[in-house]
């Protein structure tokens, strides 16, 4: 088992997340894509931790923080989406371009 | 005097107007008389202080900075609050404080819309601080600050009180109010130049670190510069950067285009101050900063400056001939006159630099007066179109006579102040600096001839303007109009200028008494002993 095999999965998930972020119109879907990306980071951290084996399991600690923050972000994001939906009856992100130029 | 020896005198001259402006703000807006009286009082006190300076100045040591004030200011970058006056800055400082007094007197009951004397006079006093400070600053950062400070009040003067007529600007699709276009153009041009000037200053500061602690101090930099510290591409670029800043301010061709617009659009007093003092900041900076700090580069750049100056002279005069607006004509004349100033500087000789200084003083007096007159006339005629004017001499004999007097002074009539600047810069151009002669003697002498032709053109447009405006029968449209000839405020403002024009015309030592020692020593330290003499000559006059 080598570390790269996990990292490649992470890279792939990250790239897929980016793809989703760029093509998804529904805001909830965008949020899902972001979760993919954050998850990819977690894979990285855990994989590195497996190699490094630091005395304080720093990688895992880090990933716990990332998971926590990601959860908070989801909460914030959904709240924003709800607020917007209430006003616009739409959750499509490209419907919002009141402000430009 | 103790006040001056301690250095506080100069500080007072610089900041008194600013304090005056702040106090102005505290006076109720409606109490215009109090505002005017207070402003005039401040200006007069400042002028009186500068006269005290004149009295206390040690003319035997005009080449040294006197009454210095040198306090730490921004220690982090080694910038000091360093003021000082020498023979070169003294006349310009006095000119500045003097014209300010006259300008305030003049504006006593000449208000452009939207009136508001409190605002206007406060701006003028702030302007005074900037101008006086520029002439006295001996630290590059301080210099930069004052150099920039003058922009703000002038911007507001032009923008708020300026010419409200609309004009088609080449390159713009719609008509723009002159004041709006002019104010921003004025600011942008100067800012553009001074941004690069600042880069130049900083480069000097940086380089001075090779020879000791980094410094912004002008005397220290001069010492370094004259000992050859700055050279090569570095110096070339630094000079170029500073050149941009100063040349825009002067203004030299082809950076002059802000000037006609700004002058034309500015309210009368604004034009006067712009012409009389603000334009001098640039040329003064050449003498104070560029030449002594970067003497070798000054030599390299001198031919280019000479060429641009001469182009400016000819070009400005020709442009004048195409004007229909009297004020714009006077504005363009400044391009030509400042061309002579810069031609003098470009020779790098004591004669040439002296020519530049007296040229500056004279231009300040004369063109200032011309703008006063143009303002007063457009105040009465509500037009500046020369084709509609005419017969002014008949309608307003006193004003017409003063206009004629000033026009002749402006075209460089010998015996009036304007002559010396022109004549001496030609004199300087005949024999430029020794080291420039090998390669560029022909160039400078051609410049001399072209400059002399420029004086002819100058006479041409000035006479033409006089004929258009002053002579002939008044136009039909003025029949039945009552015209008030020059009133007492106007005369109070103008007569001192006229007297000075004559006095300097017949006794230029008024200026040279202060400057010559300083200039000679400047040239000697920058370019070595005896640089300003012609080829050896057998002294036929014997002992």
């Amino acid at each position: 088992m080598i570390v790269t095999q996990f990292l490649v999965i992470a890279a792939a998930l990250f790239s897929l997340g980016v793809y989703g972020l760029l093509v998804r119109r529904n805001a909830v879907m965008v949020l899902l894509a972001v979760e993919l990306m954050l998850n990819a980071v977690n894979i990285n951290l855990i994989a590195f931790e497996a190699v490094i084996r630091s005395s304080q399991a720093v990688g895992q600690v880090f990933s716990i923080f990332v998971i926590t923050v990601a959860a908070a972000e989801v909460g914030i994001g959904l709240a924003i989406i709800l607020m917007i939906f209430r006003n616009r009856q739409s959750a499509n992100v490209d419907d919002f371009n009141l402000m430009k130029f | 005097m103790e006040l001056f020896e301690s250095g506080w005198g100069l500080t007072l001259i610089v900041f008194l107007p600013l304090v005056g402006a702040l106090v102005n703000m505290a006076i109720p807006k409606t109490n215009e008389t109090a505002v005017k009286q207070w402003s005039l009082f401040v200006a007069v006190v400042t002028f009186a202080l500068s006269l005290l300076l004149v009295v206390n100045f040690d003319y035997g040591a005009g080449d040294r900075f006197q009454f210095e004030m040198n306090e730490t200011w921004i220690s982090a970058i080694g910038a000091n609050f360093h003021l000082g006056v020498d023979g070169i800055s003294l006349p310009l400082l006095v000119l500045s404080t003097f014209v300010m007094v006259l300008a305030i007197i003049y504006s006593w009951d000449h208000w452009e819309e939207p009136h508001n004397p409190r605002g206007f006079l406060s701006l003028m006093l702030i302007l005074a601080t900037g101008m006086n400070g520029t002439f006295l600053a001996l630290d590059l950062v301080l210099f930069f600050i004052f150099f920039e400070v003058v922009l703000l009040p002038m911007y507001f003067m032009i923008g708020i009180w300026g010419d409200k007529s609309k004009r088609r600007i080449p390159g713009f699709s719609k008509e723009v109010e002159t004041r709006l276009y002019a104010s921003i153009k004025f600011f942008l041009f100067t800012l553009f130049g001074s941004a690069f000037m600042l880069l130049g200053f900083l480069a000097l500061y940086f380089k001075s670190g090779d020879f000791g602690p980094r410094t912004f101090d002008i005397p220290e930099l001069i010492e370094l510069g004259t000992s050859g510290a700055f050279s090569g591409t570095f110096a070339f670029l630094v000079f170029g950067a500073m050149f941009l800043g100063f040349a825009v301010k002067v203004p030299m061709w082809p950076f002059h285009t802000w000037l006609p617009d700004a002058h034309t659009a500015a309210p009368t007093v604004g034009s006067v101050l712009l012409a009389a003092i603000l334009l001098k900041l640039g040329s003064y900076a050449f003498i104070r900063i560029s030449i002594p700090i970067l003497p070798q580069e000054a030599e390299n750049w001198a031919p280019a400056i000479a060429v641009l100056s001469v182009i400016g002279i000819i070009y400005g005069s020709l442009a004048c001939l195409a004007q229909t607006d009297m004020k714009r004509l006077i504005a363009f004349s400044s391009v030509g006159h400042m061309g002579f100033v810069m031609l003098g500087i470009s020779t790098l000789t004591d004669v040439g630099i002296n020519a530049a200084i007296i040229g500056m003083v004279a231009h300040g007096l004369i063109t200032g007066l011309l703008f006063f007159l143009a303002g007063s006339m457009s105040h009465r005629y509500h037009t500046r179109e020369m084709s509609r004017l005419g017969g002014n001499q008949k309608l307003m004999p006193v004003m017409g006579a003063i206009l004629a007097f000033t026009a002749f002074a402006s075209l460089g009539l010998p015996g009036l102040a304007g002559f010396w600047g022109e004549f001496m810069s030609l004199l300087g151009a005949y024999n430029p600096l020794e080291s420039l002669r090998a390669e560029y003697l022909g160039l400078f002498r051609t410049a001399m001839v072209l400059g002399a032709i420029g004086t002819v053109l100058t006479a041409g447009y000035m006479l033409w303007m006089l004929q258009k405006v002053n002579l002939g029968e008044p136009g039909e449209e003025w029949v039945g109009h009552e015209f008030h000839d020059a009133d007492r405020y106007e005369l109070t403002a103008w007569v001192p200028l006229m007297v000075l024009i004559v006095v300097i015309g017949f006794y230029p030592n008024v200026v040279f008494g202060a400057t010559t020692d300083a200039v000679v020593s400047l040239v000697n330290t920058a370019f070595g002993e005896g640089a300003a003499t012609t080829a050896a000559v057998t002294d036929v006059l014997g002992s």
Binding site: L22 | G391, N509, T534, V537
Partner: protein, 680 residues
Amino acid sequence: MTHLVLAVEAGAPELVSGGFFAQWAGIMLVAPFVAFLLIVFLGKRLKYLGAEFAIGAMALNLVWASILFVQNMSHGIFREENFEIASIGMFDGRALVFELGWVVDGLSIMMYFVVAFVGLLVFIYAVGYMHGDVRVTWFFASLSLFAGSMLILVGSPNLIQLIIGWEGVGLASYLLIGHYWEQKENSSAAMKAFYTNKVADVGLILGAILLGLAIGDFSFAAINEAAANHAEPLEAVAFAGGLLLFFGAMGKSAQFPLHIWLPDAMAGPTPVSALMHAATMVTAGIYLMARTFPVYQDLVGGEAARQWMVPIGVITLFAMGLLALVADDIKKVLAYSTVSQLGYMMTAVAAGGYTAGLFHLFTHAFFKALLFLGAGSVIHAVHSNNMSDMGGLRKEMPRTFWTFVIGSLSLAGIIPLAGFFSKDEILATLDHEGYQAFMWVAIAGAFVTAFYMTRAVALTFFGSYKGHGHPHESPALMTVPLVALAVPSVIAGFLNIPGVEFGGFGNFTTWVGARVVAMGDHHPEAIDWTLAAYGLTAGGLGILIGWLLYGKDAETQLARDRFEIPVLYPLLRQKYYMDHLALGMVGFTKGPAARAVDWVNTYVLDGIVNGVGGGVRLMGRFVYGGLDQRGIDMFFNGVSAGADSAGLALRRLQTGRVQQYAMGFVVGALVLVLAIAVFN
């Protein structure tokens, strides 16, 4: 500061310092300016509107100048007072200074006298002439300004002060020519005069720079001594400097082709023409040449320059004289005559005749002023400048007539009037210096001179009156100066009969020769009667033919009788022959030749001037409209417009769609990564 000057050449006169009057000669220079200020501020309240001050100052000057003149007769005076006005830098280890002051020597004393004498008379005359006219106060103020500037000019010890005076008289000339500035022609004429002079002044200024900077001193004494010593640096610039100075002189002294302003300058009131455009101001160029004479005389380069100057003078004297033949305006006749006479003076000085040129200047001042004042008197009477509106005035205006005739004869060079001696001396100089061909032209010029003067006299004073109203003699205020001027017009010639000295008082030659440097010009021992005969013959012939043509008008029987009797009567018996000859000659001179010259003058010279003027205006319009507004300004505006549209374009990137932002974000990140990868 006073220049300590040593006589450097054997034969230079011994000079004395001249005492009180020489020491304080500066008062003469200042007095008119004081008068000017007094007139401007107080003049309007006085009876004569300020003329009092002007006349007073000139009277003082005349007294002062006369005393100096007399002092100078017995013993040559040289005195210089200098006051430094500007120390402008270093030259060869010493200060390079500008000074003001006055010089009192033979040359300047002569000029002081002429200016004061003619000036005083013209001022007095003007009181009468200008009575009831517009802006009289201002007129006298300007006249005083002129007198002061002229004295500053002639009293100048150095080139700088000379330039001040030089342009000062130009200014006064501008003011006075344009006295009636309500009409555009007048203000244009004033502009033309000032402007032409300004062009010439370029030469003066550059010449002054060249000469002054060659030795580091602008004073005439220093320059002249350096020239007398053949100083090397001065020699190097002598040719260019000499010609440049001469160019300046050409403007002020109306030498071909810069004479064009002078005829137009007649737009001013007649006293102005008399004083400035005949007697004094226009001679400033001659004066300058005389002042710097050693530069032209002693230096090789100066000599070379003279070879260019003589032909100019000769062309001026002849061609301009011809023009006087076709003018109807009496003042124009006199103006062309003045130009022609100035040509004589310039020719003389350029040929090396220092004294000859100055002497003609001296005498010419009197009789030409006389003629102008006489003409003014006539104009005053008939309210027209045109001779076609005059005629037969000799009866109504006897004093004017007689003095005018005296002046004309003097101008025509008829013995023993002043003009004869001075013109003769010029011929002698040309002969002696080897300019024989030019001498013959000068003699021909004398013929022309006599011819047009006769014509003027005949048309004005003889025949029948063709104008309107009833002309009458002018008031005494005007005629007394005429008489006073007639006297020297008659007798001034005797002051310089070659070889004749007035006891210990010398003669004109010695008086104007009282200079620190000997002028080294040739002084004939006695009158060369052969030359005198040529001159006289030419003059006489001119008068005769002129008379034959114009004098025998139908109603001028008496006049014809009087002139037919003594000498000309026998010739008139072959009057057809003479008529034909005369007609042929005149026909040619007055016809094609004169017309050709006139045409050249109008269309070529004036055309060039107008063309240059128009061209400059056009250029101005191009520079402003084309280069400045559409070029440079457009450029800067274009730059800002470019920034503006770049801004507009950049705004478009901000589409408002968040996913495009994200796209930009990712692209930016990738580009940054790749850029840094490539960079490293």
